[in-house]
């Protein structure tokens, strides 16, 4: 069907296109948003970006809990009388149109005072007047225009930490001092010997001294503290020689100017600290819109509707839900605790948990686990376990989440730093000792000069710049790594474990196979029209799969929730659905999800719907198996063992029926054998294994949403290129080693001057920035070269 894209959301309109105002819309939701925007003169929205919108999806009553002042109060950032401020996280923010319309909210409702978008964080901060606009109405207003904020238990249970701007201040102070000290050092650089300058030398030097005090004790305090901590723990990390360099530079310079021996090295000192901090800044800036720390709280609702014993409903915070409470779960709401289904037909979507997108049908009396999402209609449940003790949420009480098992990791810089520090201290001692015999007056000078010139500025910069740039390159290709340390661990791993559903297999593409008696053309046409009338995911999958037939009116149609559909047209009475419903024999072996069909009560056959595997995964596993030992852990039964065996290299261990906790223990066991493990998973049931593994990679169809705590998020479209990312991570480590070699050359040159006792401030002032700048240039070029052919660019907005 060749249709114009929807004017609002840009999706193809399909057969049910709505024409309005001379434009095509895919659904009435999109049309309504357009109407709202047009009526408020916000159609500039469509000029900025085409098809940027989203159809609104929300349920009446979903946000009733926001009327509760206690709950609302905990979500607010600030309130003063009726002036309220709240920060919404809105995952849909993705383009300039979004920024524009969200910052013009005041045109939609006069109660909004102002609003400001933080694009990198996908957040909007709204100031509003609570007398004319309640929090619930505000959220509904946002939802109605397709920008539904995500309000989760996480925001309720604790305010996020205050923004840490210390590093920016430190850089500012260091840069300010650096510039001024350079300026004041000019006379010394040129040694003009001019009369007035000689007169004021002392003043200039003491000014430099006073500028450098905050550099050492404020900007450099991080290094001093880290070195002190390292020494106390008995570790010689890279901060030790840096701190030593900073302190020696400062003390020697102070002594020099106090005794009028020379001008000191204040310029080199402040430059050194400035460059080091820049490296830190570069390393720190990553993806603020992605969260790598999510646990179940990011998905669970804040409040639920509890049915009172004497009738009536009330909204209670999820934490107050107790065993025995009766809850009302609305359409598209999450089940917060393990419960018993009392009334209603449940279609539970466990895709958050397992990655399996097909809903599971439950009947009254069945047990429902927390984390599932109800898809059809309203149900009533009785809570069996409180929220934190449910089957899924219990996982978070494991020690893998409470301690930091990865903190024992020592990165390459620190490992090299140890040897480096020992070498420097030895050289300094030997050189000073030698000078004691040659010229004792110069021994102290040489000792300090060695410590100054050997300060491993370039070494300390190599890793942050290489890995920081690598993170950025990965990010552009759709692979988001949490921090540089995760990248280093990734380069070292030799074992990879994969989850099956949602990770290797995708929910977006199904393969459907039909077995049984062939359907006649007219039967197939009726079948197609019957499944078309239903919104159930299986019906829709089947609808897309069947050959195109004309739309025909159905003489009769009925949907039996949780069982199937029946419809009549043109003399055929078609029933599709579960085997009980269609009355097929129950003895058929289960090989996936099956949809049975009968025509006029004659059993015809069944469609078997399977998740298909991601494109290129077979080739990926083949390439990975050359370097890694692989394993697959699946929470499902062994139905797909054979198909999976064909996909994977021979002898790959496959484990089925793995509970979330078992996955975690499996990873832990491998680690106890001394293996470094990469876990690749997706749903919350992998969360334990992802947290326990050395590097947890979450595969996500939509990176803004639904990722459990992990070290890296992989866009599912890039799944087939995972091995290339890993190879690039290893190459990046090679770049760091090369940079170390390069900076060693600079150090040797510097050491020559230092040991022979001719280290002039000018030489230090040239050599130290030169080495830093060339290392930065080298690592940037090298990483870009490595990353030149990694995967295709994704449509992610650059950071």
């Amino acid at each position: 069907m060749d249709q114009a894209p929807c004017f609002h959301c840009g999706d193809p309109c399909g057969s049910e296109s709505l024409a309005f105002d001379g434009k095509a819309f895919c659904c009435s939701g999109c049309k309504t948003v357009y109407q709202i925007f047009r009526d408020h003169k916000l159609d500039y929205y469509y000029e900025l970006e085409e098809g940027a919108g989203r159809s609104p999806q929300w349920e009446e009553g979903k946000y009733d809990f926001l009327d509760d002042p206690d709950i609302a109060g905990r979500l607010l950032d600030f309130q003063d009388g009726s002036h309220h401020v709240i920060n919404f996280s809105i995952p849909h923010i993705h383009c300039s149109s979004c920024i524009w319309v969200l910052e013009n909210l005041h045109k939609l409702h006069p109660g909004v005072i102002s609003s400001q978008v933080d694009f990198p964080k996908r957040e909007a901060r709204v100031h509003y007047d609570s007398e004319s606009l309640g929090l619930k109405e505000l959220v509904q207003l946002l939802s109605a225009i397709g920008y539904e904020p995500s309000i989760t238990l996480e925001q309720y249970s604790g305010k996020e930490a205050k923004k840490d701007r210390t590093l920016i201040y430190q850089i500012g102070v260091a840069g300010f001092a650096f510039g001024n000290i350079m300026f004041l050092s000019f006379p010394e650089y040129f040694e003009t010997g001019e009369f007035w300058l000689e007169q004021y030398k002392g003043l200039f030097r003491w000014l430099m001294f006073s500028f450098s005090v905050p550099v050492v004790f404020y900007s450099g305090s991080g290094y001093l503290k880290a070195a002190y901590k390292g020494l106390r723990a008995g570790i010689l990390n890279i901060d030790v020689p840096i701190a030593l360099g900073i302190l020696v530079l400062f003390l020697r310079s102070t002594v020099e100017i106090a005794l009028d021996w020379g001008s000191g090295f204040f310029d080199s000192l402040s430059g050194l600290v400035f460059f080091l901090l820049l490296g830190k800044y570069f390393q720190q800036r990553t993806y603020s819109h992605l969260s790598f720390e999510r646990d179940y709280k990011s998905y669970f609702p804040i409040a639920v509707t509890r049915l009172k014993a004497g009738g009536g409903e009330e909204n209670v915070p999820v934490y107050q839900v107790e065993k025995g409470d009766r809850l009302l779960i609305r359409n598209h709401s999450l089940i917060p605790a393990d419960s018993l289904l009392l009334a209603g037909q449940a279609e539970i979507d466990y895709s958050f948990v397992t990655g399996e997108a097909r809903p599971v049908h439950k009947q009254p009396g069945d047990l429902i686990y927390a984390g599932g999402k109800q898809l059809q209609g309203v149900i009533e449940v009785e809570v069996l376990k409180p929220v934190s003790q449910s089957y899924l949420t219990e996982l978070w009480s494991d020690s893998a989440f409470s301690k930091a098992p990865k903190s024992s990791f020592r990165n390459l810089t620190d490992r090299i730093g140890k040897r480096f520090t020992l070498a420097i201290l030895t050289i300094a001692a030997v050189a000073a000792f030698a000078w004691l015999f040659i010229d004792p007056s110069k021994a102290l000078n040489v000792l300090t000069a060695v410590l100054i010139i050997a300060c491993p500025c370039a070494i300390a910069l190599a890793a942050p710049f290489t890995l920081g740039n690598m993170l950025r390159i990965f990010g552009r290709k759709g692979f988001y790594v949490k921090d540089t340390e995760s990248l280093e661990r990734m380069a070292q791993a030799e074992t990879m474990i994969f989850d099956k559903t949602g990770t290797i297999s995708t929910a977006q593409k199904n393969s459907i196979r039909y077995t049984g008696i062939e359907l006649s053309e007219s039967e197939a046409a009726v079948l197609k029209n019957v499944v078309r009338a239903s919104g159930h995911p299986l019906s829709q999958a089947l609808y897309r799969q069947l050959a195109p037939y004309n739309i025909m009116p159905l003489e009769a149609f009925e949907e039996h929730l949780g069982q199937g559909l029946e419809g009549r047209a043109g003399g055929h009475h078609i029933k599709v659905g579960s085997s009980d419903f269609v009355r097929a024999s129950k003895s058929l072996p289960q090989t996936g999800t099956e949809v049975h069909v009968s025509s006029n009560d004659d059993y015809k056959g069944c469609f078997t719907i399977r998740n298909s595997y991601r494109d290129g995964s077979g080739a990926l596993f083949k390439r990975l198996s050359e370097r890694y030992s692989l394993a697959v852990l699946s929470g499902d039964n062994e139905v797909e063992k054979e198909a999976l065996g064909e996909l994977l290299p021979p002898l790959t261990p496959l484990y089925f029926n793995q509970k979330p906790k078992e996955k975690l223990l499996f990873v832990r066991e491998l680690q106890q054998q001394g293996l470094k493990v990469i876990m690749v998973g997706d749903g919350l049931n992998d969360a334990g294994a992802l947290a326990q593994s050395d590097v947890g990679i979450a595969v996500s169809e939509e990176s803004n949403l639904f990722t459990p705590a992990c070290d890296a998020i992989l866009d599912s479209r890039q799944f087939a290129g995972l091995d290339r990312f890993l190879a690039m991570a290893r190459k990046a480590m090679g770049v760091i080693r090369l940079s170390f070699g390069l900076s060693l050359i600079y150090n040797l040159v510097g050491l020559y001057f230092a040991i022979t006792g001719q280290l002039e401030p000018v030489i230090a002032a040239i050599l130290m920035p030169l080495s830093s700048v060339s290392i930065v240039a080298f690592t940037t070029l090298a990483t870009n070269w490595i990353g030149r052919d990694a995967g295709t660019e994704t449509k992610e907005i650059p950071r």
Partner: protein
């Protein structure tokens, strides 16, 4: 001779002034989001003016 004291005092205080501005701007949050303002400044102002002239939003625009 003493002019150099004055010059130094001036140059250092100018530098300090800018430093104070920097601290204030960090404190106001100007460095927290380095992307959104670059998009925001490109929005046209025309629509804002238009609504300022007629603050009632009741009648919908006829053309698109």
């Amino acid at each position: 001779m003493s002019v150099i004291y004055m010059l130094l005092a001036i140059s250092v205080s100018v530098a300090l002034l800018f430093f104070v501005f920097f601290i204030l701007s960090v404190r106001k949050g100007q460095f927290d989001d380095s992307y959104t303002p670059s998009v925001r400044m490109l929005f046209d102002d025309e629509l804002v003016k238009e609504t300022a002239e007629e603050p009632s939003h009741d009648h919908p625009k006829q053309s698109n």
